[in-house]
Symmetry: T
Subunit: 69 residues, 12 copies
Amino acid sequence: MSDHVYKKIELVGSSPKSIEEAVENALERARKTIRNMRWFEVAETRGFIEDGKVDHWQVTLKVGFTLDK
Amino acid sequence: MSDHVYKKIELVGSSPKSIEEAVENALERARKTIRNMRWFEVAETRGFIEDGKVDHWQVTLKVGFTLDK
Amino acid sequence: MSDHVYKKIELVGSSPKSIEEAVENALERARKTIRNMRWFEVAETRGFIEDGKVDHWQVTLKVGFTLDK
Amino acid sequence: MSDHVYKKIELVGSSPKSIEEAVENALERARKTIRNMRWFEVAETRGFIEDGKVDHWQVTLKVGFTLDK
Amino acid sequence: MSDHVYKKIELVGSSPKSIEEAVENALERARKTIRNMRWFEVAETRGFIEDGKVDHWQVTLKVGFTLDK
Amino acid sequence: MSDHVYKKIELVGSSPKSIEEAVENALERARKTIRNMRWFEVAETRGFIEDGKVDHWQVTLKVGFTLDK
Amino acid sequence: MSDHVYKKIELVGSSPKSIEEAVENALERARKTIRNMRWFEVAETRGFIEDGKVDHWQVTLKVGFTLDK
Amino acid sequence: MSDHVYKKIELVGSSPKSIEEAVENALERARKTIRNMRWFEVAETRGFIEDGKVDHWQVTLKVGFTLDK
Amino acid sequence: MSDHVYKKIELVGSSPKSIEEAVENALERARKTIRNMRWFEVAETRGFIEDGKVDHWQVTLKVGFTLDK
Amino acid sequence: MSDHVYKKIELVGSSPKSIEEAVENALERARKTIRNMRWFEVAETRGFIEDGKVDHWQVTLKVGFTLDK
Amino acid sequence: MSDHVYKKIELVGSSPKSIEEAVENALERARKTIRNMRWFEVAETRGFIEDGKVDHWQVTLKVGFTLDK
Amino acid sequence: MSDHVYKKIELVGSSPKSIEEAVENALERARKTIRNMRWFEVAETRGFIEDGKVDHWQVTLKVGFTLDK
């Protein structure tokens, strides 16, 4: 692990249900094109409101993945 | 949407169960007096402990709503 | 409460399921040696990824507890 | 000035043209209900994009005003 | 306490004498219209200078109060 | 909008004239390769000086765009 | 001093009177178990309110002390 | 450029018209006594309000200049 | 006031007694060489400890003063 | 330089030896696919520990590069 | 690794030679009493000056270690 | 030491070799005009890239020095 180089990208995922699902939804989309995702960091948690209730959560996360040599 | 003016207020909601429910509880109280709430941003997540367990979650959120013209 | 002195320590808890459970797991371990825990503040939320999915959540929290006189 | 008490509120103003106009638009709405606004601080500058161009600027500002005695 | 909703507002208090008195002066004005203030957080400490000496202190604080149900 | 996933990238645009034009210039370049740009956030405003005057403004912005499903 | 190793801990002290006394109260408790405290940094200043007045100040400080060799 | 040493100073410029002009006004004053100004960074944007309108903008900037050898 | 240019410098003042006196001591030294000091902002509050008690407070402040035309 | 547009990406480089080498290792990998890298900013410095010693340094950096017109 | 609980402590290490050695010196002292140190994060880099040269570097780091079950 | 007043200035030093040397180079230039420099704090670490390699490091530091009485 000591000679790896990682890249970090910033994604925003959404979910009507929970913060956790918003993260999972972002990863689900990202894994279609990115291999070797290793970790994420939650950078921001927001949400949109309809009729005075949470319509959906919106979580900004940074995702780190290994760059192939 | 380009000519709207919004106001943001800061609320703290509580829940014995989850971060999400603490946000919902804050919105439930706020919608009694505020119309047109549009989005929120989670600013701080804390909690209180009883007997070594989470007694309740306490989430500080900023809520943005449209000001009537 | 006005004459208490508190100490705050920083812990990292993990859970395959949720942010809330990661906090509970950190407290469960901490209460074996620390009495009088009173509150916590979530400082950082991260997670590890396996096969493009969240493997486990990792939450850094600061825990405040009363120092005995 | 040394015995004044001020309140600060957070507003978001919009403009298709400039950051400055977004601030002015927020103040224009605010002065309908708030007397004695004294200063503002720009907290965040964002914007929305249509067809690859700025559709409108959106500026979050904190506005300080004197509370009547 | 686990089912309360709080609102936080931002005030600026002044005093020629001390940081503490600037906070007290802000609260003195606020309690005329706000019931159930519970805690405050000092956000910023500044001051104005006359003839090379502190003329008055100016403290920005966030005040949390319980919203009636 | 509740099931979208967005990616955010960081760009730096320049302009001899204004902050606004520096942002527009960054977007003009970005739209050649990125579809569905939705919003931006100004992260940093700087500039270079020649002969004691602003030679050009340099604005760092984060741009969010929808990832195709 | 160039070969010392220090540890920093985080304490919260309280006082009905002043920020300074809240710090002193935290140190008074800490010196019962910690030798060689050298410096502190004020991290956060808060307070609790009763009847619209400051009931007690609460100051979070980081305290650095020399680790014995 | 690799062996230069720079000094950075903090200035506040004002303008009734725009953020850009406030920066230019600060540089205009600074170039009377400082040679070799190279870049600036906007640290804070504020303004003063008269009659509910922006009276003047006030921009805090850090200016970097080369120290003569 | 709308056409003034200010410079801000950073000072550290000390006092065995209080935060306020540490600021006053910094200003007392600064006014020997700086005219037209207008305001200050407290940036950092620290202190040194002797025998488990505060030996002296050390306050970092930014001081703004008018540049002569 | 006044009409360039730059993109900034975030990389994490590792080295058993030093912070500087961790940065060089990240750049060495990045230059295989990115042309015209111009500058970097160190965002975070961490490391992993084995047997109580630094096993390898891990440096997060933002790298800016010119976008071709 | 998904069911571990970590504690993080804050240390300050010193070295006349380099940032890296200051970190190593802090770890060397810490491993006398702490088992299972896993990672560190550099929080602050400072130094003391004698005769206009660096006398020693002083690095504040947070160290994470596994809590035994 | 309890009655000293310090001034802090911000410098940027460069070095093709290391972060440490960039700091030393800034101090070497500063000691030509400033007496009694006591400490420094690293505020920012950056670098410039040529041909995909670090051309030189650029470190922003704040330097504190005693003001003569």
